[in-house]
């Protein structure tokens, strides 16, 4: 009995987290203008009830700015992670199904891309795109597909050798049929979990590369911008400029992690023996 309610609790936690993330995203979109409002009369205020995150040197409400920045990060994170996951799926399956040549080519490509440390690759891609929004999006997309692609390749290889697929082949079933009926249902949970678990990484990398100055332009209230600008004022004791936005970012990332791992626990047949 206890175990049944544990799984029910997991499902409710999942839904709650998703709602929270959705709320943050929407709030950020709605508060876009409020985040840019400056008011020098209220500058450099420490956190209070009125301004829970305090205000910065231009009098901007840090809480509203943070929400806005988080919302942007979430949106960018979801888009880039999704495209990354699709690339990973296509390349991983291609490597497993299209013969030795394709496998070697994809493996070589993976080794190549993984040879450049993530951040450095992001810097290069951002540089190639002239910095800015697209640089970040393309960069983050291109740097995350590798490990998921390896996982999918492994899964598809295993499936290809599995009993029921071999039987279907011997029975003369077409490749498309086998893919649809036997492989995709098995791959889908893995793929979804892998996709969701890419979100936190994508968000963190976007924030990092923006922090360095390669991503979104300084006018946008992106988290990376907030933190990099706030860094200059830390020495003057305005600690709230760094602590709260960063904490909020960590919480968002943790929420996505929670969603991903809860999803895995619920969908993964191996957790059958709980």
């Amino acid at each position: 009995m206890k175990k049944r309610s544990r799984r029910k609790a997991a499902l409710s936690l999942l839904i709650l987290s998703l709602c929270l993330l959705l709320a943050v995203t929407l709030a950020g979109v709605l508060l876009r203008d409020a985040a840019m409002e400056t008011d020098f009369a209220r500058k450099n205020l420490p956190p209070s009830l009125r301004y829970p995150f305090g205000t910065d040197w231009m009098g901007r409400d840090l809480f509203v700015r943070t929400l806005c920045g988080l919302s942007m990060s979430i949106q960018i994170g979801i888009i880039t992670a999704s495209v990354s996951a699709v690339i990973a799926f296509l390349l991983g399956s291609a490597a497993a199904l299209l013969g030795r040549g394709a496998d070697a080519a994809v493996s070589w490509l993976i080794d190549l891309m993984m040879g450049i440390p993530h951040i450095l690759l992001l810097i290069l891609v951002s540089f190639a795109c002239g910095k800015g929004f697209w640089g970040v999006v393309i960069g983050v997309t291109l740097s995350h597909w590798m490990s998921l692609s390896r996982v999918i390749r492994g899964e598809v290889l295993q499936l290809r050798e599995s009993g029921y697929v071999q039987v279907a082949q011997k029975l003369g079933m077409g490749r498309g049929y086998i893919l649809r009926r036997h492989m995709v249902p098995h791959l889908f949970p893995q793929f979804m979990v892998g996709l969701v678990l890419l979100f936190p990484h994508a968000i963190l990398h976007e924030a990092s590369v923006t922090f360095l100055g390669f991503g979104l332009s300084p006018e946008q209230p992106a988290i990376g911008v907030i933190l990099s600008e706030g860094m200059k004022y830390l020495i003057m004791g305005q600690w709230w400029l760094a602590v709260f936005p960063g904490l909020a970012l960590v919480l968002v990332v943790l929420l996505f992690d929670l969603v991903g791992s809860t999803l895995r626990k619920l969908l993964d047949p191996a957790s059958i023996h709980e």
Binding site: R4, R7, S271, H273, E274
Partner: protein
């Protein structure tokens, strides 16, 4: 007759599993298994591979996985076999001879594994002696598990069991992958252990081989025991009581190689009643009810025709 070294009474074992997103079921692996082993006896539990027989071994040793739930009673030498007792006698009086070389640490040489880490002179002498007893020379101690052939591996595994004086030996599927002479030799070693006074529980799928060394055979099918009979009863099929046992007998190569009709049992279809009733030529309506494991002359049987002829 001496007191049995091992008594298993109405052992049932099931696992907790998750169905779909939130549902939970118990998957039964063994139901109502009973048997007794006396010192000096070799009892073979014969059943299809993967039908849960290894779990019997793990249950007796007390090393079941965490999601297993167990009912029934175990007795060792007359006293209840509690988890504390299991822990105390495991590896010394109560030993397991596992199925394959994967049960040895791949990164450790054979010698230290046979001796289970003991470095003193007495242990070294003993391990050398034990290996020699099974025809393995001292160089084997310096090898790694992956360097052993199938037969050598089996003999090393037996050696680990007899480092001390075991009183109950559980042999889990010792013959798959061995050619007939090697299998015969390995089984001979187990019979030797029984002849020297230990009780031996042989878990196997090979009825033919089991008959060459066992004193008694317990027929295991679909998670439960159907019949227990002395080995001598297997010379003719009319001394066997359960229709499944007779079908097994007829399926043996020297008795005609007849395969039984009907579908294979699967645990999901578990309801009450005899699991063989779909393939049984003598099935009746009341085979679907609960059938007790009845003691008869020379053994036990679980068939409705013994209860209500």
């Amino acid at each position: 007759m001496e007191r049995p070294i091992l008594e298993v009474e109405h052992l049932s074992l099931s696992f907790t599993q998750y169905r779909g997103l939130l549902g939970r079921t118990q998957l039964p692996a063994i139901s109502d298994l009973s048997l007794r082993i006396h010192p000096g006896e070799l009892v073979a539990v014969v059943g299809a591979s993967g039908s849960g027989k290894s779990l019997l071994a793990h249950a007796i040793l007390g090393i079941l996985p965490y999601n297993a739930s167990l009912t029934g009673a175990l007795f060792y030498n007359g006293a209840p076999l509690t988890p504390q007792r299991q822990k105390a006698i495991r590896g010394k009086e109560l030993v397991l001879v596992p199925q394959s070389v994967s049960y040895l640490d791949p990164l450790m040489k054979v010698g230290p594994q046979v001796r289970n880490g003991r470095r003193d002179e007495a242990a070294r002498n003993r391990s050398r002696a034990v290996l020699a007893r099974y025809g393995l020379d001292p160089q084997v101690e310096e090898r790694y598990p992956f360097q052993l052939s199938g037969g050598m591996a089996r003999r090393v595994l037996i050696s680990t069991a007899v480092m001390e004086q075991p009183r109950l030996v559980i042999a889990d599927e010792p013959t798959p992958g061995l050619h007939p002479q090697a299998a015969q030799r390995v089984l001979g070693h187990f019979r030797e252990l029984a002849d020297q006074g230990a009780g031996v529980l042989l878990i196997t799928h090979d009825l033919e081989l089991a008959l060459t060394v066992a004193h008694r055979i317990v027929v295991f099918y679909a998670g439960t025991t159907l019949e227990e009979a002395p080995a001598s009863a297997f010379q003719e099929d009319n001394t066997l009581r359960h229709p499944y046992t007779r079908a097994l007998w007829r399926a043996m190569p020297q008795h005609g190689f007849h395969a039984p009709e009907g579908s294979l049992f699967s645990p999901q279809n578990q309801e009450e009643g005899c699991p063989f009733r779909q393939g049984c030529p003598e099935a009746r309506e009341d085979c679907a009810g609960s059938i007790p494991y009845r003691q008869v002359e020379g053994g036990y049987v679980r068939c409705i025709r013994e209860v209500a002829p």
